[in-house]
Amino acid sequence: MDAQDSRAARFYRALLRLLPFDFRGDFGPEMETVFHELRKEAGRHG
């Protein structure tokens, strides 16, 4: 599960690199935290 999490996180981070530089700088880190929250929630609900 951890490996899957890490792979998903890397994939999401790679996707974030497609965003415009300014937008990524402003919101990228926060978008990552939301992604992690959504992953955790999905894990809890199976």
Binding site: F23, F27, P29, E30, M31, E32, V34, L38
Partner: protein, 142 residues
């Protein structure tokens, strides 16, 4: 909650005063119609200051899961609302916030509240027409 804990305040900067859009922004009824997703974000923030994930949860909860915003959509909206001065980022975190420090909390500005209220009025007028044409199945709540 104190006003000093927001990044921006409601005073107009000289740059904003020169911007012709600011005249429109000062009159909420002249603000261009909000998209449904933007309106939902403003509604969520009308209740409390929230971070991004909490906004997603609040919108999902309040619409019974009918509206699900993606992360990309949410932050596109947040960027736009920040640029329009309808929301601001809180400078301080809530006292009981015991969470990831990368989280940022957003607050509705007085202008944002006025624009949301104007949008609600617009929708109410449309609903009145729909009601007059018997297009609504549910009776109006008291």
């Amino acid at each position: 909650m104190a006003l000093y804990d927001v990044v921006c305040d409601d005073r107009m900067s000289p740059l904003q005063e020169q911007n012709p859009l600011s005249a429109i922004q000062n009159n909420p009824e002249q603000h261009e119609p909000l998209t449904p997703a933007m309106f939902h974000v403003l509604l969520a923030l009308a209740g409390d200051d929230l971070h991004g994930y909490a906004i997603l949860k609040e919108v999902g909860l309040r619409t019974g899961g009918k509206v699900k915003l993606s992360t990309g959509t949410l932050y596109g909206i947040i960027k736009r609302l920040l640029a329009d001065g309808l929301i601001v980022e809180r400078r301080s975190r809530p006292a009981d916030a015991n969470d990831d420090e990368r989280r940022r909390y957003y607050r509705l500005t007085p202008q944002g509240r006025e624009v949301a209220a104007a949008e609600a009025e617009r929708m109410d007028e449309v609903l009145s027409i729909a009601r007059a044409r018997n297009l609504l199945k549910k009776p109006r709540p008291a």
